[in-house]
Amino acid sequence: MSASPRKTDIGPPHYEQFLPPVVKKNYGQWKYHEILKPGVMVHVAASGDKLFTVRAASPRLLSIVTIRMFADLADRFSGGFLRFTSRNNVEFLLSDPANIDPLIAALKKEGFPVGGIGPSISNCVHTQGWVHCHSAASDASGVVKAVMDDLYPHFANMDMPGKLRIAFACCLNMCGAVHCSDIAILGIHRKAPKIKHSDLPKMCEIPSLVSSCPTGAVRPATVEGVQSVEIIEEQCMYCGNCFTVCPAMKIANAENDGLSIWVGGKVSNARTEPKFSKLAIPFLPNNPPRWPEVVGAVRTIVDAYAANARKFERMGEWIERIGWPSFFRLTDIPFSKYHIDDFKHAGETFRRSIHMRQV
């Protein structure tokens, strides 16, 4: 193999080779779909052809052993065809409806339950956490496992008012793009980075380090004779950008790192425009392995939503309809100065009208 000329810039394989025949035949000719039961839907083409999809949960972090198991199931039930979704579930693409139930049974046996379609809680988009990233303020996979264990019935059933999307990111870089999720769990640092003055001059460029700080908290300084930087602690809001730029600015801190909860974001244009998630709970402790505070908080919010939102209404639509003060009252989440924006466009979030439910 090493003898063959080195290939580069070939890009991904063309997708066509991975499409089931029914898809190739009816590409662009689908007419409608129906959800048959939790985790199962059928798409009907203009030709009358049908494509059955069975969607199973995935922890995203998959062993090659499991991937092979999926491949085996695909061979048995879906002609060898399968795909993953944009939320990391696995989907088997079946032509024969008779295979649906056996496939579900086989998946279940392997520990991969079926669901997540329609008005349900689908998989939780997440990131690396302590498994792989240097920036993480928490573990991603662990929190997600704990939360999804608790919410599992809502994955397996279509018992939500509308779609409810949960995402997790382990630091403010937000690789999980939690900024637009119905519920977002975000790992946070709460202490200014500790500077390793001995390493800094070797590892980092001081000017770009200084300019990396959005609040100007990082200033050039000579410390114990070395050209280094100092941090004006009151100006630091723990974004970690200086650390991204310079490894000698470690920001992780066992006592103070933890999680925050955000709610009401969405990306679809359905009914209302896409929205950012907004701060619900500024801080919850890192409490592995099952993060009960986080699990409980998410559950409280899901329950309030499930009990009060109207059909089709997403989390943020519901909250905007009832007003944020009502959200805080219904969930019993305390409101604090941390909830009040004080970043660049803060003033845009101040209530500039009398439109209040007076209580």
Binding site: M1, T8, D9, I10, G11, P12, P13, Y15, F18, L19, V23, G28, H33, H43, T53, A57, R60, L61, L62, S63, I64, V65, I67, R68, A71, A74, D75, G80, F81, R83, F84, S86, N88, L93, G111, G129, W130, V131, H132, C133, H134, D139, S141, A146, M148, Y152, M174, S212, T244, P247, A254, D257, G265, S268, R271, T272, P289, R290, F312, H345
Partner: protein, 397 residues
């Protein structure tokens, strides 16, 4: 792949093996390689200490590429030598994450030979993430992957791996061929993908309709969101069937939820004032058998979405309200290259294109890339009087 090794004690992580949701701990244990073992060990330590144990990456990669590999080193290599180096490789996924069992098996075989046996299917950007290998494994893995027809994805300040929703492969609402477009753009910009030469990352995502199942409006510097211009197609019989089904209250669940309230339901027939429809998809979503997007289909192009680092998160904003999406997408590619040229020249280091536009001013940006300003690009004109007037009368000398 099992072999006789002393397994680490991981009582905290073991608690995460139970419960109905599939367990990542089980996955790590299944992999059963020395690397996976040490990963479990170091993770257990993080669970004990509430802190991660990874250091900054540093420059690792494959020859001739500047992206696609994330270097990672342990800060406790003495205790967990197998993950002292634990780099991930980002492999450009096939469009919309379609596979055959055969292709998947071949990938797993390569990763069994060279890596931890752990993956993410998939990373947040869309890549196949091969999670954890040593520096020495990078080149051989790359060689085997390219032989199989796979290539690396993006990382660093380059075009990132584009991704797309399933689109016309399965979805009745796809207003253009997302997978075709995604593949085409990925191939056209192989150089930009592998060799970081931008001020910062640049992500492309393709969604077939305004439902945006690939979250493009939140997560891509340039998003192509399918949309139509003509009237919603109505199958009057099917509307009645929905009404009769009792599962849907057409007035309350559909008409009253329309953002512009441009629908009228009299109990028997549905009238849509299409001139006031803002293509939100809601009514179509609610009655997929009865309603469908029109026939004059294309996409809107939005620009500038990003996560919060460091000027605050942005959603994409409308750059082109409507364009036909037809290969070879020349007009779009010309536009894209004008944007990249401008941003590459004037963008600051680590300044995403969305932030760049805000710094420059959208009006100036449009002028520079040669696009006419249209009111669809904004939700409202400026409310402040601070206009930089240009067409003024100069004084006589």
């Amino acid at each position: 792949m099992s072999e006789e090794r002393k397994k680490r004690e991981t009582p905290l992580l073991d608690e995460l093996e139970s419960g109905p949701w599939p367990s990542f701990v089980k996955e790590i244990k299944k992999s059963d390689t020395p690397m996976a073992d040490d990963l479990l060990g170091v993770l257990e330590r993080s669970y004990e200490e509430h802190i991660g144990h990874w250091k900054h990456g540093g420059l690792v990669g494959v020859m001739g590429y500047g992206g696609g590999v994330i270097g990672r080193y342990s800060d406790v290599p003495q205790d967990f030598p197998e993950v002292a180096e634990f780099h991930t490789m980002r492999i450009n996924q096939p469009a919309a994450w379609f596979y055959t069992s055969d292709a998947l098996r071949k990938i797993t075989d390569i990763w069994e030979r060279h890596g931890s046996g752990l993956t993410n299917m998939h990373g947040s950007t869309g890549d196949i993430v091969l999670l954890g290998c040593k520096t020495e494994a990078l080149e051989p893995t790359f060689a085997e992957l390219t032989s199989l027809g796979f290539d690396l994805g993006g990382s660093g300040s380059d075009m990132r791996t584009p991704s797309c929703c399933i689109g016309q492969a399965r979805c009745e609402w796809a207003c253009y061929d997302t997978m075709g477009a995604c593949y085409d753009f990925t191939q056209t910009y192989q150089d930009e993908l592998h060799r970081p030469a931008f001020p910062y990352k640049y992500k492309l995502k393709f969604a077939g309709c305004p439902n945006d199942c690939v979250a493009s409006v939140a997560r891509s510097d340039m998003s192509f969101i399918g949309v139509w211009r003509d009237d919603i197609k109505v199958d009057a019989e099917q509307v009645k069937a929905y009404a009769a089904s009792g599962k849907l209250d057409i007035q309350q669940d559909v008409c009253d939820r329309c953002p512009t309230r441009c629908m009228r339901w009299d109990g028997a027939s549905l009238a849509i004032d299409n001139a006031n429809c803002v293509k939100c998809m809601h009514c179509i979503n609610a009655m997929p058998k009865a309603l469908a997007p029109g026939d004059d289909r294309g996409a809107a192009i939005l620009i500038g979405a990003k996560a919060p680092i460091v000027g605050g998160a942005l959603l994409g904003s409308v750059l082109v309200p409507f364009i036909k999406m037809e290969p070879p997408y020349e007009e779009i590619k010309e536009l894209l290259s004008r944007i990249w040229d401008l941003w590459a020249e004037y963008g600051k280091n680590r300044e995403r294109v969305g932030e760049f536009i805000q710094r420059l001013g959208l009006g100036n940006f449009l002028e520079q890339i040669g696009l006419e300003p249209v009111p669809e690009m904004i939700t409202a004109p400026r409310a402040n009087p601070y206009v930089f007037y240009q067409d003024t009368v100069e004084e006589e000398a």
